[in-house]
Amino acid sequence: MNNSSNEPSNVPRGSAGSLAAGVSIEDPDDDFGLVARARQGDLGSYDALVTRHRGRIYAMIRNMIHQEADAWDLSQEVFIKAWQALPRFEAKARFSTWLYRIAHNVVYDWTRKRRIESAGELNDGIFERERIDAASFTTPSGGDSPDDTMARGELRARIEAALAKISPEHREAVLLKDVQGLSYKEIAEVMACSIGTVMSRLYYARQKLQTLLKDEYESR
């Protein structure tokens, strides 16, 4: 296993990546070299890509479905599907954006299957989180005091409870924008909709969340 980098590099380096002659776009994550080698069948390079992006994909899926075990399985499915589709990756977008797109499809396919298995109960209950285990999210960083950590853990629990009350589309827009930091254009690519739709979803999602988190939000 290649564990040379556990976190994706988000610092724009201004490097231009390319997979083929004539293709050249910004590659802030510096993924295209690994992608090009993985496309040649180099599993080591692909393993490095998995290591680099698994944290973001897992966090995104986990925040969408609120089930740790399923999020673990679905995250793997994303990387397996990405490997299968790698010959079709054309570097028109960042590799990470492309992974989010696959994750979007995997999560919605999973949701659809779950709806069918639950005898056609067509509601968004699958996405809803009935219990919030704040303790499982604590990942203390070095400089935080225990009080800060606890406060952040509580805030996260409240935000996640509020996220569970909005529609999956609104939740996904907020997570991609406010948590993952994608641009409107990238979110539109991931969710396969127009930028206007993303703006609308984000606006209403934030309105709803701010209402649900009114006390928390106004005290800050």
Binding site: M1, N3, N6, E7, P8, R39, G41, L43, Y46, D47, V50, T51, R54, G55, R56, Y58, A59, R62, N63, E68, A71, W72, S75, Q76, F79, I80, W83, Q84, L86, P87, R88, F137, T139, R152, L155, R156, I159, E160, V174, L175, K177, D178, V179, Q180, G181, S183, Y184, I195, G196, M199, R206, Q210, Y217, R220
Partner: protein, 199 residues
Amino acid sequence: MNTNPDETKLALWLEDELKGEELAAFEQWVAGQPEHHAAREEARRWRSMMAAAVPASEEPPYPEFFNHRVTRAIREEPPVPAVPAKRGFHWQSFFMPLAACAGMVLAFWLGGKNASLTPEIDVAGAPRAIPVEPILYTPEKGVDAEWFTSSKASATVIVLNGVAAIPDATDFSETAFLRELREMDATAGMNPGNQAMEP
């Protein structure tokens, strides 16, 4: 002339997504509009709160095993077919449709020519039946068969010579299969005196 930027540009500015000349032009327009600056500060505060509370990246449990499972699944699946290279222009790709068209035209022309040589085509276009001499088969020795066409009866008549006379006593009903009609009865098969039930 309306110099106001559109809603999309305003939304992009609020999210700090405008860059370069677009940003400079927008900043010039928005300089005297404090409500937009306040909205941008609000959006930044919201994003900051969300980013601080919900981590963007979270290592999955057992990360080594996670990678191992992915790698194993990839190894177990059939090899991914390589991306086919785009074909350049080739003279064959241009002439093949032409050759196919020419072949079809030739086939139609030959077909039409042969059809014009065929004399017997009726009005409906269906070919007339060609008269064929029937072959009559008689399994019994000493029996001959002849046939002729009766235009009056609009029928083909077969005459058998040498067949023994059929006796008047022959009961033709014996040669026919008649289904025996039975009344469905739950007690069918049981003897009246319950003898069948006794040992």
